[in-house]
């Protein structure tokens, strides 16, 4: 475990060194710029006594802040996860590390953990910013806000596990594309599962079941301030657990492939 943590710590430092933090600063700056207009509108609504509209605007601003960070975290999870081994091969640092007595799986899990921790840290910063904004706007956050953040966290875990796992078998761009598309695949193929052609019907059914389960929007809604009729927490938790398990399986399979793979270095 100590070796995994060592690799993870170095991965986090490497990510910081790759100036990824500047992207976050850019996200923050863009958010501030985008919030000027809604803030002004909210202020005007408050002054004109339209409390309901002002509250809705406030919720939307909180949602926008958190959503931007979650989106950035998802992009980081996919991009950094897909390049987690290739960057080490490109810089050739992998040779010295793997000349040491560590298992290949320890190396891959360490790299995954580093990217995962960094991505989750970005989510945490986003949630903290959202909570701070809500506090500043004197806005009580409903419990469903936290439920939806849990979903965002599991999404980031899924993206990261998929991209790291896929990157052990396909080149980084394909791994990145695959990690982005696999979670949305069920929604894309669902309508074709009743197609008259048996080939299309069977292949789409297979893809539907191979991909991670789709989270129905009606289950928890997309706006944390809106009411959802008869929320199904059990199904919601089940799908989240399946996503986390899917990420774990992708990572384990990736470790198995990576343990047998040759390390070819770019010239």
């Amino acid at each position: 475990m100590a070796d995994v943590l060592l690799i993870a710590g170095t991965t986090v430092r490497e990510v910081r060194h790759r100036r990824v933090l500047w992207v976050l600063v850019l996200v923050g700056g863009l958010l501030l710029a985008l919030m000027v207009a809604p803030m002004a509108m909210m202020q005007m609504a408050r002054e004109s006594g339209e409390g309901g509209f002002a509250k809705r605007m406030s919720f939307q601003m909180v949602d926008m802040v958190v959503g931007a960070f979650v989106f950035a975290a998802s992009v980081f999870a996919v991009f950094l996860g897909a390049t987690v081994v290739s960057t080490e091969a490109k810089t050739r640092t992998i040779v010295t590390v793997l000349a040491h007595p560590i298992e290949r799986w320890q190396f891959l899990v360490g790299r995954w953990l580093g990217v995962q921790l960094f991505s989750l840290l970005v989510v945490a910063v986003g949630v903290a910013c959202g909570v701070a904004l809500a506090w500043w706007l004197d806005l009580p956050l409903p419990n469903r806000f936290w439920v939806l953040q849990l979903e965002a966290i599991v999404d980031v875990i899924l993206f990261c596990g998929l991209s790291v796992g896929l990157a052990t078998v396909v080149p980084p761009p394909a791994a990145g594309v695959g990690a982005f598309f696999l979670p949305v695949l069920p929604g894309m193929v669902e309508s074709l599962m009743g197609h008259p052609s048996i080939f299309v019907r069977w292949s789409t059914t297979l893809l539907y079941h191979l991909a991670p389960a789709r989270m129905p929007e009606s289950l928890m809604g997309t706006e944390f301030w809106s009411d959802v009729r008869n929320p199904n927490y059990g199904l919601f938790a089940g799908i989240l657990a399946e996503h986390a398990l899917y990420a774990a399986v992708a990572l384990v399979l990736g470790c198995m492939v990576f343990a047998r793979r040759e390390i070819r270095l770019g010239s």
Binding site: A2, D3, L6, T10, R13, E14, R16, H17, T91, R92, T93, V95, T96, V97, L98, A99, H100, P101, I102, E103, E262, I263, R264
Partner: protein, 309 residues
């Protein structure tokens, strides 16, 4: 051969490149004895780094086997007592010298207390004491290479694999590497040194292995070369196939042949017998001299002109 630290048997390695099969190593056999310093010499593209990467388990043999300390190459057990430095020490630029050695030392299984003691020692030995807390991004190429050596030595391994370690080093740095190799040998470690610099090899190694286009062409003790050589060269004029066949039966073959003149090389104990035989055969014996073949002569004879880099 019982106490071989590295044992390579029938190693073949092929790569598929642009729908073509490239043979990088062909039927390589090698045994490196405990406590020896073995030079692995060959031109660029001969297969030195491929052999080393196969020893580290980064590349899988197409055929054949490699064991390190009796364990399969690439296994954790094989890498436990191994220190490695690549041609250029590629590392993370955000580390300081201290944090880099701590990282690699921890990976090698050292405790924090051992590292706290060893890191300043190793860095001082390599002339990097003043740069212990400097970021590696500010290091010169030579300093990085010295740090790479410190990284390979920090856990005091029983086997040191150095892939052209003097790349980027100035003469002082090269001398330091030679001294370190000799110090490691004195400590009882085994050193496998891939190098182009034959003077360094002659200074530090016990045995030389030459590789050419993926094949081992020479495996000889260093003592055979230079002033310490225990061989003689005999010039024979009027060399003809009949003489060659007769001498071949007696176990003597020409080391070089040109325009009907051959040079036979023979170990000192067999010199008189061969001379008598040549006289009996009526051969025209010319100069008889002590063999002064240098490592460079041998290199040029066996692998010269095959560089692909």
């Amino acid at each position: 051969m019982a106490d071989a630290v590295i044992r390579i048997e029938g190693l073949w390695k092929t790569f598929a490149r642009r729908r073509q099969r490239v043979i990088a190593l062909r039927d390589v056999h090698l045994a490196v004895q405990r406590g020896s310093v073995v030079a692995f010499v060959g031109p660029n593209g001969a297969g030195k780094t491929t052999t080393i990467y196969a020893m580290l388990g980064l590349l899988a043999p197409t055929r054949g086997s490699i064991t390190i300390f009796g364990e399969p190459a690439g296994s954790v057990a094989a890498r436990r007592q191994l220190g490695f430095l690549s041609e250029i020490f590629y590392t993370y630029p955000f580390h300081t010298a201290r944090s880099a050695l701590r990282f690699y030392g921890r990976l090698a299984g050292l405790t924090e207390s051992t590292l706290a003691e060893r890191i300043p020692q190793k860095l001082a030995r390599l002339g990097l004491a003043d740069a212990i807390d400097r970021r590696l991004g500010t290091f010169s190429k030579g300093m990085i290479q010295r740090l790479g050596l410190a990284q390979a030595l920090v856990h005091e391994p029983e086997l040191l694999i150095l892939d052209e370690p003097t790349t980027g080093l100035d003469p002082e740095g090269r001398r330091l590497v030679a001294e370190l190799i000799l110090a490691e040998k004195a400590r009882g470690a085994t050193v496998f040194l891939s190098s182009h610099i034959l003077s360094d090899v002659e200074r530090t190694c016990d045995h030389v292995v030459m590789i050419r286009r993926g094949e081992i062409v020479v495996s000889e003790p260093i003592a055979r070369f230079g002033r310490g050589a225990d061989e003689w060269e005999i010039e024979v004029a009027g060399w003809h196939p009949g003489l060659a066949a007769t001498l071949a039966e007696a176990g003597a073959a020409p080391a070089a042949e040109h325009d009907g003149v051959a040079w036979l090389r023979v170990a000192t104990p067999h010199k008189q017998a061969l001379l008598r035989r040549l006289v009996d055969l009526g051969a025209e014996v010319g100069t008889v001299r002590r063999s002064m073949q240098s490592l460079e002569d041998l290199y040029m004879q066996h692998v010269g002109g095959t560089s692909s880099g």
